[in-house]
C-alpha cells in the first residue's frame, strides 16, 4: 500500500468537512483540530515499518468494526448533500452505497484510488483559489475581515435568503433578535417562547409562503427537510454574535482537547499504514488538504456566515460558492470534492479490511458497506461516529502495535490479538457502562480511548 493510498482513509469528507464547519463556527478547539488533522497522520506515516503479523480473528473483527463506524460517518455528509439539494437523505446514501458496491466488484480499481484523492483535493483547492480570486481576499485577509465583522448576519446573496435553504437534519435555532422566517414549503415549526418565568411551546403549521415572526430569545425547532427563507441583514441564529467573538472563541476543555488529540493520533496510527520509500508526496498532500479545509471556513465567515446553519458538515463546501456573487458556477466543485474524497477513503478502508480478512474480503466489505449505509440513515453526528471508529482503532490496533506486540505469542495466542481483545473489551465496557460510571470516571464514558488504549498497551508490555 503506498503512502497516498493509505492516507486516503484519513482525508475523508467527515474530517475535512468538520474542520471547515468548526473553523466557521469559531469553535474553541478549531485550531487544535486543524493542527491535529495534519500531525496525527504524519505520526502514523512515520511509524517504524514492521512485518505485519499473520491476521487473527480478533484484529480482523476490530478492523472491521472500526472501518464500519468510519464508513457510516462518511455516508452521512453524502446523505446531507442530497438533503441540501432538495432530495431525501436516503437518496444520497443509496447512490454512495451503489457506487462503492460497483467499485468493489470491478477488478483492479484499487490502483486508481490516488486519483480519487487527487480529484477530491483538486476540487477543494480549485474552489478555494476561485473564492480567493472572486473575493480578492487571501486566507489571512479573510480571517482578518471575518474577525472585524461587527455582526455575523445573513448575506443578501445567501441561498438561505434568495431561494430558501433546506435543513439537512433536525435543528433548534435560538434567535438573539426579532426575525421573520418564511416557509418555502409546508412544514411544522415548534416555537418555544420565553413568557415571564416559564416557557410557552407553540406548534405552527405553515403553508408555502407563510411567514413566522420570532422574538429575541425564542427557540425554533425545525425538522430535517424543512425549507425556509431568512431575512438578509439579520443575525444568524446560533452563530457567534460578532467577528471578534468568533475570533476569540475562548478556552477549550482541557480533558476534551487531550482526549481528542489522543483519539486522532492513535486512531491514525491504527488506520494509516507506515510510509514506504516513496512516501514523500503524502505529507505535502495532507498539508494542502487540511489547510484548504480550514481556509474554506475562513471564507465562509468572511462571506456567508450562515452556511453552517443546517448543521451539516457538507454545507459550507456546497453553499459558500453560491453565496458569493461571481462564484455560483463553482458550487458543483463541492459535490465533486465530497464524492471523490468519499470514494478514496472507502477504498483505503476496504484495503485495510481486505488485508486481514483474506479470501472473504469482498463479502466482509459488502457487509460493512450495507451496515454502514443503513446506520447512516439515523441522525448520528458524523464527527462522533468518526471519533468512535478512530477510538476503537486506537485501542485495538494502534496500542498493541506501539507496545511492540509484533508476531510474539503467549499461550498460543498472538500478543497483538490479546492486546486488541483487552483494548476492545475496555472500550466496549466503558461505552456500555456509560451513565453508571462514578463521576470521577465520567470523562472515560465520553472518551473511552483514554483508558482503553493504555490498558491494551499495558497488557502487551506486561506479557512481552
Amino acid at each position: 500500500m503506498t503512502a497516498l493510498r493509505g492516507l486516503a482513509a484519513w482525508t475523508g469528507p467527515v474530517l475535512l468537512g468538520t474542520l471547515t464547519t468548526r473553523v466557521a463556527a469559531g469553535a474553541p478547539d478549531a485550531p487544535m483540530l486543524v493542527l491535529a488533522a495534519v500531525v496525527a497522520p504524519l505520526v502514523a506515516l512515520l511509524q517504524p515499518r514492521v512485518d505485519e503479523p499473520p491476521p487473527h480473528l480478533v484484529s480482523a473483527a476490530a478492523t472491521g468494526v472500526s472501518a464500519t463506524l468510519i464508513l457510516a460517518a462518511s455516508f452521512v455528509p453524502l446523505g446531507d448533500v442530497a438533503a441540501l439539494l432538495g432530495g431525501r437523505r436516503w437518496h444520497g446514501v443509496v447512490v454512495a452505497a451503489a457506487l462503492l458496491l460497483l467499485l468493489a466488484l470491478m477488478p483492479g480499481v484499487d490502483r486508481w484510488r490516488p486519483v480519487g484523492l487527487a480529484v477530491g483535493g483538486a476540487a477543494l483547492v480549485l474552489g478555494l483559489l476561485a473564492l480567493a480570486s472572486v473575493t480578492a481576499l487571501s486566507p489571512w485577509t479573510a480571517w482578518r475581515d471575518a474577525a472585524a465583522r461587527p455582526a455575523l448576519v445573513f448575506s443578501a446573496h445567501s441561498p438561505w435568503v434568495t431561494d430558501g435553504g433546506w435543513f439537512a437534519r433536525r435543528a433548534t435555532l435560538t434567535f438573539g433578535e426579532g426575525h421573520r422566517l418564511v416557509a418555502v414549503a409546508p412544514a411544522t415549526f415548534r416555537v418555544v417562547e420565553q413568557d415571564g418565568t416559564g416557557d410557552v411551546v407553540r406548534d405552527w403549521r405553515l403553508a408555502a409562503g407563510d411567514p413566522l415572526s420570532v422574538r429575541p430569545g425564542d427557540r425554533v425547532t425545525v425538522e430535517a427537510g424543512t425549507r425556509v427563507r431568512f431575512q438578509a441583514g439579520k443575525r444568524v441564529p446560533g452563530a457567534a454574535p460578532s467577528g471578534a467573538a468568533w475570533a476569540d472563541a475562548g478556552a477549550a476543555s482541557g480533558v476534551g482537547s487531550v482526549a481528542v488529540l489522543l483519539t486522532l493520533v492513535l486512531g491514525a496510527v491504527g488506520l494509516v499504514p507506515a510510509a514506504g520509500r516513496r512516501g514523500f508526496v503524502a505529507p505535502a498532500t495532507l498539508l494542502t488538504l487540511a489547510l484548504a479545509a480550514a481556509c474554506w471556513g475562513f471564507y465562509a465567515v468572511a462571506t456567508a456566515p450562515d452556511v453552517m446553519l443546517s448543521g451539516s458538515v457538507a454545507e459550507p463546501l456546497l453553499r459558500v460558492s453560491s453565496a458569493v456573487p461571481g462564484a455560483r458556477h463553482l458550487a458543483p466543485l463541492g459535490v465533486v470534492a465530497l464524492v471523490a474524497l468519499f470514494v478514496a477513503a472507502a477504498g483505503a478502508l476496504r484495503e485495510r479490511v481486505s488485508i486481514l480478512t483474506g479470501a472473504r474480503a469482498t463479502v466482509v466489505w459488502l457487509t460493512a458497506v450495507a451496515v454502514a449505509a443503513v446506520a447512516s440513515l439515523w441522525p448520528f453526528d458524523p464527527w462522533r461516529l468518526l471519533l468512535a471508529g478512530l477510538g476503537l482503532a486506537a485501542a485495538t490496533l494502534a496500542a498493541p502495535r506501539l507496545a511492540g506486540a509484533g508476531a510474539a505469542r503467549v499461550g498460543g495466542w498472538p500478543l497483538h490479538a490479546i492486546g486488541a481483545l483487552t483494548g476492545g473489551a475496555v472500550f466496549a465496557a466503558l461505552v456500555a457502562l456509560g451513565p453508571r460510571l462514578p463521576a470521577a470516571l465520567a470523562f472515560a464514558a465520553e472518551w473511552p480511548v483514554v483508558l482503553a488504549a493504555p490498558a491494551a498497551l499495558l497488557v502487551v508490555k506486561l506479557l512481552r
Binding site: 474553541p28 478547539d29 485550531p31 487544535m32 486543524v34 493542527l35 491535529a36 495534519v38 500531525v39 504524519l42 505520526v43 506515516l45 512515520l46 511509524q47 517504524p48 515499518r49 489571512w140 480571517w143 482578518r144 474577525a147 475570533a247 476569540d248 475562548g250 478556552a251 477549550a252 482541557g254 482537547s257 487531550v258 488529540l261 493520533v265 507506515a274 510510509a275 514506504g276 520509500r277 512516501g279 514523500f280 505529507p283 505535502a284 495532507l286 498539508l287 487540511a290 489547510l291 480550514a294
Partner: protein
C-alpha cells in the same frame, strides 16, 4: 542512527509540536488570542507554523530513513 530510530524521533517530535497549542488554548488569559498582523497567535501557529514544520520534518525523516 538506524531508520527505525529516525522514525521514532520523528513521531516524538511531531507529537511535541501539539503541546504549545495545547498550552495556548488552555492557559487562562487566552494568550492564543493575541493578534499578530491581525491574525491570532493560535491560528498563526496551528494554521501555518506548526503544520509547515511538521510536513518538512516528516518529509526529512522519510527521506533519511529510506537511505
Amino acid at each position: 542512527m538506524s531508520a527505525a530510530r529516525w522514525r521514532w524521533f520523528g513521531m516524538l517530535t511531531l507529537t511535541l509540536l501539539l503541546l504549545p497549542l495545547l498550552l495556548l488554548t488552555l492557559v487562562p488569559g487566552a494568550p492564543g488570542a493575541v493578534r499578530i498582523g491581525g491574525v491570532s497567535l493560535a491560528w498563526w501557529y496551528a494554521g501555518l507554523v506548526a503544520p509547515t514544520l511538521a510536513t518538512v520534518l516528516a518529509t526529512a525523516v522519510l527521506v533519511r530513513s529510506s537511505e
